[in-house]
Point group: C2
Chain length 143, copies 2
DNA sequence: CAGGATCCCGCTAGATACTG
DNA sequence: CAGTATCTAGCGGGATCCTG
């Protein structure tokens, strides 16, 4: 057994995770985080506000998130928050007031995604015009 | 009319696009790019290879992409590539050989997404262990 | 080789109603 | 306030067959 340990370690370190592989669990994780609602929730908890750039990360209440992510259904908001909590990207804190107050906040792990998520949201906004123009060109070329 | 031009310009510049708003087209664009297959295609064309870090961006053939993104169906691969082409993120080049050779390559716009997409893929791989551990903790806590 | 065209299943988003 | 529960329509996405 001891003879295989070193080889196993090297094999494991070499293999690691690779999202290019279908069976790799990181492919599923990628699918989880590469998501519209995840992006918006992380950027919101990360301090981004409408038309302002990055700000200070801080906790938000459920209702605040609901208002911020205009048009999100309770189901999707709750579901996405639960997944993020389970994966350890956000914490959920219940204050026993009447009625209860629930706040969500990014963990360290969640914070490590903040920049990328914010970057993607900003990218979509900043390049919207160009993409729209490209689509026009493409459509007329095909039509 | 001339009197409103300045005000309109300021209003437009101020409003811009905001993916937090449901009706904003950038919300849809966000939904497009925050996608598993988009992430993998952009990173592949961006030069990432299994277990290597970022490399040199370069063109790839359809079959090369298909092999690289293990398990992707032709439908999703073709569909995603078409959308990316329409949005101006990739170019599609047909060489009239027999049989035809089709290559895809990132445009400048697509290249501007390369770092973020690669970052997300790497994040999923590098934090897989921690996420898995967090899920275990969460599940035993709930159970 | 690089798709196009179909069929079809499963999940999942979203709407609605209810609750501690 | 912050959810849970339920239902359903729609479509994402895979499988299969076909083609220039």
């Amino acid at each position: 057994m001891a003879t295989t340990t070193a080889a196993q370690k090297r094999a494991q370190a070499k293999a690691e995770y690779d999202a290019f592989l279908a069976q790799c669990p990181s492919r599923k994780l990628l699918d989880r985080i590469a998501d519209k609602w995840v992006t918006l929730i992380v950027t919101a908890l990360g301090g981004w506000r409408p038309d302002t750039g990055p700000g200070e990360p801080g906790p938000l209440r459920y209702s605040e998130l609901s208002r911020l992510l205009a048009g999100v259904s309770q189901k999707m908001l709750t579901q996405t928050l639960r997944n993020l909590e389970r994966d350890g990207l956000v914490t959920r804190t219940v204050e026993p007031t009447v009625p209860v107050t629930v706040t969500y906040e990014l963990t360290e792990l969640g914070l490590s995604l903040r920049e990328m998520m914010g970057g993607i949201k900003s990218w979509a906004q900043n390049n919207m015009d160009e993409v729209l123009a490209n689509r026009d060109k493409y459509d007329t070329r095909v039509a």
